[in-house]
């Protein structure tokens, strides 16, 4: 394509890395925006190279590569902002996008002469050491063989696994963030996920079981996947749930297992500590800073720095390095998660939490690796403390409503009677309200662990980690039959 604003050596940017040579061209865009009267102009460039694979039973049934390139341009004026995304990086396409974003705020290019744009800083290149990652990751041969190994192993474990599926998804993303306050930063992100799921069937009984594993910035992740361990865990879960009865509904104490059990905190509390929610006036915790919002057993963190964790980032999608943010300390709310717009509108300082699925979304305050810190009890002590309740060994997904009510499903549950685990049960849904449930998390065990997941919200689906040790909730509504 000719007439291209963003080019390198007159070739399509798709085939070149983002680097300092783009600076004059991006500065031209930022200057045009600033000179139109914008308070701040931000350009987000993204290039992606993804692949997803699916093995079903003993065949590869789908190989889907995808790639793309695009830009998001955001303009701030006062507390308002206009955002336009495009995958046309021609000069005409980008200028149209900029003009459209400016026009949303009543601004026109060329209408003012100077609005203090001092140019971009030197490039902060977080991706410098990651340039060759695409060459290090397993190729299609190696990846497909790994998936087939997994489905075969599952088939060997049990003949009643009628559906055996293994999927692999690799998302490579190169981003460049430039803003008229001088921010100029680049990163490369590599996310890999493996999912396995089975349907076991015997007579008229059916059970489904699924697991997902994920990492960031670890080219060897698929190579190092411990397939035997995953297959054992999945098969064991499917077999136990095959004859599980439906849980009886009611209000009861619940012990939630570690790892993905942390989805309760993610849904019930984490979302409500994002400035996105504060802006809308939908967080019940908007005026609770430095106040007790949870049981004193609860301390919680959101951070983007744990090595290879699925929600870790070298910089957020606004070019800021991620913080280790202490959200709750001994039950007291200490901090909110904030992005650029959230900070502007609520006054809470940015935490390196501005995230977006891709160029077509404006960044928003989002969680990264979020977990409840571990306590001093053993998991057994939590179980023993319950006379009549539910043990949630494996959780499904969940969601939070606009006023803080949350829900999530229990994939693998067991009744607790007199401090001991009894028969497996299915069909349980936990529902509650954050404000009521947080004070009821009364015990935290000493076995903190994490799990990868995807979180969908205003800026799309982003990779996150949830986590917790085993925790006990004194009382919660369990939906069932």
């Amino acid at each position: 394509m000719t007439n291209t604003l963003l080019t390198k050596q007159n070739q399509n940017l798709l085939f070149h890395i983002f680097d300092e040579t783009l600076k004059p061209q991006i500065e031209e865009l930022l200057y045009l925006g600033k000179s139109a009267g914008a308070d701040l102009v931000e350009v987000f460039l993204e290039k992606s190279d993804n692949i997803s694979l699916l093995a079903e039973q003993d065949d590869i049934s789908n190989v889907s590569p995808s790639f793309g390139i695009g830009a998001g341009i955001r303009v701030f004026l006062g507390k308002k902002d206009g955002f336009v995304s495009t995958n046309d990086l021609s000069k005409a396409g980008l200028l149209f996008a900029l003009n459209q974003a400016l026009g949303m705020l009543g601004l026109v290019t060329g209408s003012k002469t100077n609005n203090k744009f001092e140019g971009l800083s030197d490039l902060s290149d977080f991706g410098k050491k990651k340039n060759a990652w695409l060459e290090f990751i397993p190729d299609l041969d190696e990846s497909t063989l790994k998936l087939l190994e997994a489905t075969k192993l599952l088939g060997d474990k049990n003949k009643n696994l009628q559906v055996r599926r293994a999927s692999y998804s690799r998302n490579w993303q190169e981003v460049l963030v430039a803003a008229s306050d001088g921010v100029f930063a680049r990163d490369i992100r590599l996310h890999q996920t493996v999912g396995i799921n089975v349907i076991a069937q015997k007579d008229n009984n059916r059970s489904t079981s699924a697991r997902r594993y994920g990492s960031s910035d670890n080219p060897d992740d698929l190579r190092n996947w411990k397939i035997e361990k995953s297959a054992n865990e999945l098969n064991e879960s499917a077999q136990k749930m095959l004859y599980a009865g439906y849980v009886e509904a009611g209000q009861m104490p619940v012990v939630l297992a570690n790892k993905f059990g942390g989805v309760i905190f993610h849904e019930a509390c984490g979302h409500l500590l994002e400035t996105t929610q504060l802006e809308r006036g939908t967080s019940p915790f908007h005026d609770s800073l430095d106040k007790q919002i949870a049981h004193e057993a609860v301390s919680a963190v959101d951070e983007g720095i744990t090595n290879h964790a699925f929600g870790s980032i070298s910089m957020d999608d606004e070019g800021m390095e991620p913080e280790n943010t202490l959200l709750i300390e001994n039950g007291i709310l200490k901090k909110f998660l904030s992005d650029r717009a959230g900070s502007l509108r609520t006054g809470h300082p940015r935490t390196g939490s501005g995230r977006r699925q891709n160029f077509s979304y404006a960044a928003a305050s989002r969680m990264r690796n979020t977990y409840i810190k571990q306590g001093n009890f053993s998991p057994d002590e939590l179980i023993k403390s319950v006379d009549d309740g539910l043990y949630c060994k494996s959780m499904g997904g969940g969601s939070v409503g606009p006023t803080g009510q949350f829900n999530f499903s229990v994939e693998e549950g067991y009744l607790i009677k007199n401090g001991k685990l009894e028969k497996p049960v299915k069909g349980a849904t936990l529902i509650g309200e954050a404000k009521e449930i947080l004070p009821r998390i009364s015990m935290c065990a000493n076995d903190l662990d994490h799990a990868a997941g995807f979180c969908g919200s205003v800026s799309g689906s982003v990779n996150v980690t949830v986590g917790q040790p085993h925790i006990k909730v004194d009382s919660i509504t369990v939906g069932g039959r």
């Binding site: 793309g68 390139i69 489904t208």
Partner: protein
């Protein structure tokens, strides 16, 4: 400045140009068979907060999925948003590489209907609006909604958007499908709170071909009426209830279990149904369900699917009997029928419904003829909207456990339910229907009457 999205001419899909590039690159790569689906969209949307613009968004996006058959008839695909010559060349190379891993046991082919006559949908292309016009409309809607009741303090989730979509499908045998449409939507999700009570929320959505056709007044009234009715709420006992699903809620439930009608899911063992389930009685006999993508109320209707097959109206359940399935080319070939126009585009092609229509066929009396949502005096639960469908439904097992918004109704008096879940089994639901009302109500996801089901397990406050 006219900042509407109509003055952007760059984003027109040029099927001749794309066709010529694909012919060139396929020839150079010795690929004789290929097909391609592409789409282009332009979108403008606004959100407001307490009378001010909150976020204003625009987008213009293209994407293309290219599928090739190598000399061993293995299929490979690649998807890209870069429709430049370089991008398409790269996509061709990616698809050829992927084809080396194509499943030889199940290769898709061109749809036998990809060049057949197509039913023309007279899609309306609306006149575009400026961002200022969108903002004015939404600000007015927000104000009117806030003015309806003193307890409604905000409309935290709201939006008004205008979208133009263009799609094409072409293949190496000369198929050439093309269609454009426009779509506009408004959603208003409001919050209210009374002293010493929990905050409550409710919302509604309208979708039409153009902003001028949106019934914004009814969207405001529906949101307000629902929200006001939720202000006084109570907990309910956990037990089995007679339940009335609103059209929206019943369609949500049927859509969540649409794998029952999905030939792809059946072949893959992911459905409740089996390959020989056609002809089985799966519900009460006066229930009909069809998929009618071509229905005039379906403003997002395209006249062809991802494989170029014409969109068709398909009867899925007739007199309670599973009658037909939704098919792609590959599943239709396996079942010995014709594709139905419900396919995506891929190496393994997905299948999905377009626009479900639920109705009472009148073949026999309802089990409880007297029930009517407007004047029934018996105690019942009125389920208005289901939540968390992505996590609370086990489609392959048929079970569900879902939070919902709704009311308990006694002697005709509606009282909002504090928090509750409904649990059950879809086949049990379909066979426990005691009344399918006659009034068909159009929703944004299909058409259905109110549907009554007995003995549903509801968990309230224990």
């Amino acid at each position: 400045m006219n900042n509407s999205i109509a003055n952007q001419q760059i984003f027109k899909l040029d099927s001749e140009y794309l066709n010529s590039l694909l012919k060139k690159y396929s020839y150079e790569s010795e690929i004789k068979k290929w097909d391609m689906g592409a789409s282009s969209s332009r979108d403008l949307s606004v959100q407001v907060q307490q009378g001010n613009a909150k976020q204003l968004k625009g987008s213009q996006r293209n994407s293309m999925t290219l599928r090739v058959w190598n000399k061993y008839n293995q299929v490979g695909i690649t998807t890209t948003s870069d429709l430049t010559s370089d991008g398409i060349n790269k996509a061709m190379r990616g698809a050829i590489e992927a084809s080396l891993f194509g499943n030889e046991k199940e290769s898709p082919e061109f749809s036998p209907l990809a060049k057949s006559e197509i039913e023309e949908i007279t899609s309306k292309i609306s006149n575009p609006h400026s961002i200022d016009e969108l903002l004015t409309i939404l600000k007015n809607a927000e104000k009117q909604l806030l003015d309806t009741h003193q307890s409604i303090d905000s409309v935290p989730y709201n939006g008004l958007n205008e979208t133009y979509i263009e799609r094409i499908y072409i293949n190496s045998e000369g198929a050439n499908r093309h269609m454009k449409l426009s779509q506009s939507s408004i959603y208003l999700y409001a919050k209210a709170q009374e002293e010493n009570k929990k905050p409550r929320s409710a919302g509604s959505i309208r979708i039409k071909s153009s902003i001028d056709e949106l019934d914004i007044k009814s969207c405001i009234n529906e949101t307000s009426n629902k929200l006001i009715s939720h202000l006084k709420y109570k907990s309910i006992d956990t037990k089995k209830y007679l339940v009335c699903f609103t059209p929206e809620a019943f369609l949500q439930l049927i859509n969540a279990f649409s794998s029952m009608f999905n030939a792809r899911s059946i072949i893959d063992g992911l459905s409740l149904m089996k390959e020989d389930s056609i002809g089985d009685q799966i519900s009460v006999s006066n229930l009909d369900i069809s998929d009618e993508g071509l229905h005039p109320e379906n403003v997002g209707a395209f006249s062809f699917d991802g494989e170029g097959t014409p969109t068709q109206n398909i009867k899925l359940i007739s007199k309670g009997i599973l009658t037909n399935l939704l098919h792609s080319e590959a599943t239709a070939r396996k079942f010995g029928v014709k594709p139905t126009g419900h396919a995506g585009l891929g190496a393994k092609v997905s299948v999905s419904p377009d626009w479900l229509i639920v109705s009472n066929n009148g073949s026999e009396n309802d089990k409880n003829e007297s029930l009517n949502v407007k004047d029934t005096l018996n105690e019942f639960i009125l389920i208005d909207e289901l939540s968390a469908i992505h996590s609370g439904v086990k489609a392959s097992q048929g079970s569900f456990s879902l939070p919902f918004d709704g009311w308990i109704v006694n002697d005709g008096k509606k009282t909002s339910i504090d928090a509750a879940t409904v649990a059950g089994d879809i086949l049990f639901v379909l066979k426990s229907i005691v009344k399918i009302e006659n009034e068909q109500i159009v929703t944004h996801q299909g058409i259905s009457p109110h549907v009554w089901v007995e003995n549903m397990s509801i968990t309230g406050e224990a």
